[in-house]
Amino acid sequence: MYRYDQFDQALVNARVAQFRDQTARYLAGTLPADEFRHLRLRNGLYVQRFAPMLRIAIPYGTLSAKQLRMLAHIARKYDKGYGHFTTRQNIQFNWPKIEDVPDILADLATVEMHAIQTSGNCIRNVTADHLAGVARDELVDPRPYCELTRQWATEHPEFNWLPRKFKFAFSSSTTDRSATQVHDIGVHIIKNAAGEIGYEMVVGGGLGRTPVIGQVIREWLPEEDLLSYSEAILRVYNLLGRRDNIYKARIKITVKETGLAKFKEMVEAEWATIKDGPLKLKRADIARFQSFFTSFDYEASTASDTSYAEHLAKDSAFAAWAKRNLKAHRQPGYAIAFLSLKARGIAPGDVTHQQMDAIADLADRYSFGELRATHNQNLVFTDVRQADLYPLWQALVKLDLATPNIGLLTDVICCPGLDFCSLSNASSIAVAEEIFDRFESLDYQHDIGEIKLNMSGCMNGCGHHSVGHIGILGVDKKGEEWYQITLGGSSENKASLGDRTGPSVGREHIADAIQTIVHTYLELRANEDESFLACYQRVGMPPFKAALYPVAAAGEAA
């Protein structure tokens, strides 16, 4: 993984000192509260419903065991003993004190971590495929390009006060696992006919109140031009983006209102003047960043292991976990193991400090001391020897991190909701729990197969409901919690936004409604291999609508 040199460390240390000074001035009353708000947001600090919330950056989801132990320490010392992994591969603490935050940031700096630009109208944490470097369908490892982009974006002097937040996602594989088409900029790392590396640049995607699928602004961008082209897009957006209405300020609206052709013309004109400037990457720059992301020293002998097959045959619980929570690795004899943060009775994405310490120890023992956070709010050990899978699973079972539900209905993506967030209309976590209870039976879930249930407590869409195969959105109706359901969303290759089923349903009916949708699918599917999404795309909304709203449907028919 990437390691700081003296330049990275100096920047992060200076940032801690700067924020310590800003916090002191705010507490002394010499820095106005509204100005401190903008500054603290750019250091990850929100003020939530009950307490401040601190969001810490995990660049492109990569974390070392040492860093995870520091997060455990922070949870213990400054918070209520747990943290929450988010859909941006970051971690949030929900109970820090404002006056402690400079100390927390100083602790983080000792393990090469920070909270810079994890919030506020600036360039946010860069996300990437959580299987980068090990996925079988990958062209090149996107992480060196992510780190280049992270450094270019960090404290960029021109783009700290954008019209709205700005998010990059990278992918370089056949299957898009990082939702690149619903980001402000999605970067697809590709190869041209001559075998050269470059990028397909997608712009203007986004979720939230007005979900939009991004459009290709450039089909081929040479490898050396990533940063200059990004700078051109950001400059045009900074000047052109709307600042009169927060809901129309994202680049997706700028692109829509300007028109892609015109927007592209402006970006290209800007780019032409800076492309050969200092941002042009040299082969040696890229090679330097790539040198941090080489593969581990794999043992060839592990491929001849037979113990794994024996355990699979003997232990059906282990076999169930292996079926759902393991993915194939490039290296024979190794596997990718998912740690499910979606256990019963736990808010999706939550981890205690004891679990964090234990996970760090397991990462050291079984996965080269590294792990990843996924945008689905789970964790991944990317490089586990096949022979170690059984003891790893046994340890994870004890930690309640072995729920075999990756990609299944109870692997819900969910925002913190009404329980923590001051914006939310609905208790997304409580609903997630109810759904968990309803569908907990594994055989039933396996029968249903791959399905993405995404839930947001409000229109801001932090739970990515618009791209859930089933999406649930909390809405407020005269002080009561109601839920709008959508079907057919996807953030993968052919990204699509979910269609509304019809009127929203009340709190007491939401679990029933999801069950009705699932039953309808099971009746309609062509065969067991037809996924929920494929089935919905084939049959459309009418049968689901009829099942969900029988009275209304009968009325229409009459």
Partner: protein, 167 residues
């Protein structure tokens, strides 16, 4: 009257008089006029005995400024709100694309200690501090010793981390 600092944080004397659009043009003084007044009275202002600087709204396209405007000894950029960063990009375009060599002054509600360093990095050369800003904190913010080498090259330094690593 607010304090004026140069890019290194040294206080400088303000030789310019900011002229309201309906105020009479004094015979010799150096003045700052709005872009609309400059456009409306170009002939008169061209032969004015004192220096004439022009203040640009942060919504104006600096790429269409004519040669007479780019020949001004000073252009004034507006930072009207703490979170409105448009003039940062105007500054970069004026320096990078228009090749503007004169003084670039920042004015407005966002000209505060916490934003000075980034303004300087974008090519702003002097700062009309908001009235409530303490001098010492603003000077500290602009001190080069206090600032680590930035990742990206911009207008204020020839070197950035990327260059330093290249050796």
């Amino acid at each position: 009257m607010s304090l004026l600092l140069d890019a290194l944080g040294q206080p400088i004397r303000d030789l310019y008089l900011a002229l309201a659009d309906d105020a009479e043009l004094p015979p010799v003084a150096a003045v700052i006029v709005s872009l609309s007044r400059w456009q409306a009275q170009a002939d008169v202002l061209a032969v004015h005995a004192g220096a004439v600087a022009v203040q640009l709204p942060n919504t104006s396209d600096v790429l269409v400024l004519d040669a007479a405007l780019l020949a001004r000894p000073m252009l004034v950029l507006d930072f009207p709100g703490f979170a409105d960063g448009r003039a940062y990009s105007q500054a970069r375009r004026l320096r990078d694309r228009a090749g503007y060599p004169g003084r670039l002054r920042a004015t407005g509600a966002a000209v505060v200690a916490d934003q000075l360093a980034m303004m300087a990095r974008c090519g702003i050369s002097e700062f009309a501090l908001r009235e409530d800003q303490p001098l010492a904190i603003c000077q500290a913010a602009l001190s080069l010793e206090a600032r680590p080498l930035p990742y990206q090259a911009a207008q204020d330094r020839s070197a950035a981390v990327f260059d330093a690593r290249r050796g």
